[in-house]
């Protein structure tokens, strides 16, 4: 029997042997898909952590398949049959591949429900499969070292515990994935796994290496997702140049000294709907005698330049009047407190002639991703986004909309966002008017990972108009037939260092 025939022979036997476990795994995937696509509708309210069950089920199936033909046990039946060790090991890897393919199929169906293009599907799968493959290979390696399913369970639980601790510790860190490291680990794990079958008598150190690599492979998905190189905030490589014209940062008044701090009132004037982030402010103060003192603000700060939900850049109409808003621009005043060293305090305060402030500025604007008609429980799907209006009340001056919104994670948006970052507006296309909407309650938001590595968020939101205190809405009754709900995703418009200079006159 040829080597390939042996691989097929062992693999088909494993299929027959574990058909029931495989069936349960496939069923879990079906439930996960049903939950992700929210069909039937009752599935969305199911509280079962299907994603966890899918992973656990896959891990158990892999462990059972490896333990059935254990590489090290003296009583392994395969070892006394005319089977190449590498063929047996390969058949187990093919088995892992089958689980991955089943998961990939489920993922394909799930992603199709978000109207994704083949390219997006490819991008998502590239992201997911090495990680899930690593997880399963990690379980296979642990099973190849441990002698029974109980020990495998103990090690897997330990790995999950470690992953949880890492996840907790690195929760605030920048996200991303070391793909090169993931692939290297995948390759190394595969080689070690096959070697385990070939070298049935091995040292304690070799077993330790295999066990350790297996655990790292299991922990890696969490580890990688937390510490990888994601969006760097160091400002070394600006994505886009900062829009110099639309944003204005004037120094609004004389700086004042207070308890060893120099407080500079800074105005932030930007078009309505822009979101401004100001970070890492530093200040060079020129005194009236020509001396210069450099100051910095403690830590870093991120400020909202514009209040309220972000306005979408409406794609099919250049000028849309925002009703209930504050006009075309929003202005906000902030105060930045710089620490003045005690030695410089006496000579700095009251003798400032000139200020030169440096800030790292990011600007974000809203990009329309989806529009849903208000009538008849309509739903709309855009790549990575899905929304459905479940209830809409439009009286003369009242707007109350309930919408079910779900979105995929950052793989598709290009940036890291969550559901809370989405903004909403109601557009009356015929009248060229728009009302910004806000969601006063965000407690309904949920982040769900139904399939390994594929995270999506879903929430039912109650939306109401966001209007300034002085503004009043009227005549909204007629909007019912022509209005659409616009879902807006914040997209970074530009980033860069901004110099603010001011001459202090007395």
């Amino acid at each position: 029997m040829s080597w390939w025939s042996q691989v097929r022979h062992v693999f088909t036997r494993d299929l027959r042997r574990t058909w029931m476990a495989l069936g349960i795994y496939a069923l879990m995937l079906c439930v996960a898909v049903a939950r992700a696509v929210e069909w039937p509708p009752m599935m969305r309210d199911a509280t079962v952590a299907v994603g966890v069950l899918v992973v656990l089920c896959a891990a158990i199936v892999v462990a059972v398949a490896v333990l059935a033909d254990h590489p090290m046990r003296a009583d392994a039946f395969w070892a006394i049959q005319p089977l190449h060790a590498s063929a047996v090991a390969t058949s187990k890897l093919v088995y892992v591949l089958l689980l991955l393919l089943l998961c990939g199929l489920a993922m394909l169906v799930t992603l199709s429900s978000w109207n994704l293009q083949p390219l997006d599907l490819g991008r998502a799968n590239i992201g997911v499969f090495p990680v899930f493959a690593l997880l399963l290979l990690g379980v296979a390696m642990v099973a190849a070292v441990c002698m029974d399913v109980t020990r495998v369970g103990v090690v897997v639980v330990a790995a999950i515990g470690i992953a949880f601790l890492i996840d907790m510790r690195l929760r605030e860190s920048t996200a991303g994935t070391y793909w090169a490291l993931a692939l290297l680990l995948l390759l190394g794990s595969t080689v070690l796994f096959v070697q385990r079958y070939r070298d049935r008598r091995s040292s304690r150190m070799a077993r330790g290496i295999v066990l350790g690599t297996g655990m790292v492979a299991m922990v890696f998905p969490v580890f990688a997702a937390r510490i990888g190189p994601g969006d760097a905030n160091d400002g070394s490589v600006p994505r886009h140049t900062l829009d110099e014209v639309a944003l204005s940062l004037p120094v609004m008044a004389m700086p004042t000294c207070e308890n060893g701090r120099l407080i500079v009132p800074l105005g932030v004037v930007a078009p309505l709907g822009w979101r401004i982030g100001l970070m890492k402010p530093s200040l060079d103060v020129t005194l009236d005698d020509g001396a210069t003192v450099s100051l910095s603000a403690p830590g870093w700060m991120q400020l909202a330049g514009s209040q309220g939900p972000m306005l979408p850049t409406v794609r099919d109409r250049a000028n849309v009047k925002v009703i209930g808003g504050d006009g075309d621009h929003s202005a906000q005043q902030i105060q930045i407190a710089f620490v003045v060293p005690a030695a410089d305090s006496a000579r700095t305060c009251g003798r400032i002639a000139r200020l030169a402030m440096r800030l790292w500025v990011t600007t974000t604007t809203g990009t329309e991703v989806l529009r849903v008609p208000l009538q008849g429980q309509a739903r709309a799907v855009a790549p990575g986004f899905r929304a459905r209006v479940t209830a809409a009340t439009l009286d003369d001056a009242t707007v109350a909309i309930t919408a079910r919104v779900s979105m995929l994670s950052n793989e598709f948006a290009g940036q890291r966002h969550d559901l809370a970052a989405l903004d909403f507006a109601l557009l009356n296309h015929e009248r060229g008017e728009m009302v910004r909407l806000s969601s006063p309650r965000s407690d309904a938001e949920s982040s769900v990972s139904e399939l390994p590595g594929l995270r999506h968020m879903a929430s039912t939101l109650d939306l109401e108009p966001y209007i300034s205190r002085m503004a009043r809405l009227s005549g909204l009754q007629s909007w019912r037939d022509s209005a659409v709900l616009i879902v807006t995703l914040p997209v970074e418009r530009g980033r860069g260092w901004r110099q603010v200079e001011a001459v202090v006159s007395r």
């Binding site: 009583d75 070892a79 006394i80 049959q81 049935r200």
Partner: protein
């Protein structure tokens, strides 16, 4: 032609004592060799070295002239291995297992498998998990014999099996060996049961080979000699005759004599120890020989100290 050639094989488990030390012996083609030894003697380790499931630290095992390292001979189907602890896929039926094994083994004999199954009274549709211990071992042997290996290695195949089943397994093994010229090496504690089937034997104690060879030759070499006589005659007898084991009770001394070192022809003994009242020479059963060898090995250090 020598089918099994074990040459200066040593094996040490991690942190444990030496399991095998410089073990060398052989078995010709078609031989049925009994590998005997008390618990922990190294029988299983030696069989696993022969099968290529363990690599010896030093020395080598050649089966049919080829090195048995790294399961090479198992993969090529030369070696069949039956062991008490090997786990058959419990969720399969015997029929399914046979169908799965058939394409793997080049010389698989479906007719032989069927006839062995009938002979053993096994049901092809019965799940292996439901088989009794004896039936389980019969199924293992069926799988090994139907593959018609050149060398069959069996490790404790009779543990916990009733006498009738032992007899059936032994008969099947002997018949198959005779029909196919299979060389069999069998490690067992059931010496009395297997003795009639054996052509060769090797006895291990504490990882060292004590005795090995054709059974007939060993029976010629080792005999029990019992002498009744006065103290000085018995002392001379014990001093001059090479023995494996000695027992003394009053005017009687009984030894397991090693005829290779000092011949024990009955007439010659009478001439040499003419003061003895009586001298009897008896054949040893394999069980007695084994017991004597093991006891001799255990007392050897104290004898050395006394000397």
């Amino acid at each position: 032609m020598t089918d099994i050639a074990i040459d200066a094989v040593s094996y040490r488990y991690r942190r444990n004592a030496e399991a095998l030390h410089d073990v060398s012996f052989g078995a010709p083609s078609g031989a049925i060799l009994g590998l005997l030894g008390s618990n922990g003697a190294g029988k299983t380790t030696l069989l696993q070295c022969c099968a290529g499931l363990r690599a010896p630290d030093s020395g080598r095992v050649r089966i049919g002239g080829a090195d048995s390292g790294s399961r090479a001979l198992i993969v090529s189907g030369v070696i069949g291995y039956v062991a008490e602890g090997v786990r058959l896929p419990a969720e399969r039926t015997l029929g399914q297992l046979e169908r799965w094994l058939a394409p793997l083994h080049r010389r698989w004999d479906t007719y032989l498998a069927t006839s062995l199954r009938e002979r053993f009274g096994l049901d092809a549709s019965c799940r292996l998990a439901t088989l009794s211990r004896g039936e389980y071992m019969k199924a293992s042997l069926l799988c090994a014999l139907a593959a018609q290996p050149r060398v069959l290695l069996m490790d404790e195949p009779f543990t916990g099996i009733d006498a009738l089943s032992k007899d059936e397994i032994l008969r099947a093994m002997v018949a198959s060996a005779a029909a196919n010229g299979t060389t069999v090496m069998i490690a067992s504690h059931d010496i009395a049961e297997i003795e009639s089937a054996l052509s060769h034997t090797a006895i291990l104690t504490a990882g060292r080979l004590r005795v090995a060879g054709a059974l007939e030759q060993l029976r010629e070499r080792y005999r029990r000699v019992t002498m009744v006589g006065d103290e000085d005659v018995l002392a001379a007898f014990a001093r001059e005759q090479a023995w494996l084991e000695i027992e003394r009770a009053g005017r009687i001394v009984s030894i397991v004599a090693d005829g290779e070192r000092t011949p024990f022809d009955h007439g010659m003994l009478h001439r040499r120890f003419d003061g003895a009242d009586s001298i009897t020479v008896e054949d040893l059963s394999l069980r007695d020989l084994f017991a004597s060898v093991v006891r001799s090995a255990r007392t050897a250090p104290s004898r050395a100290e006394a000397a």
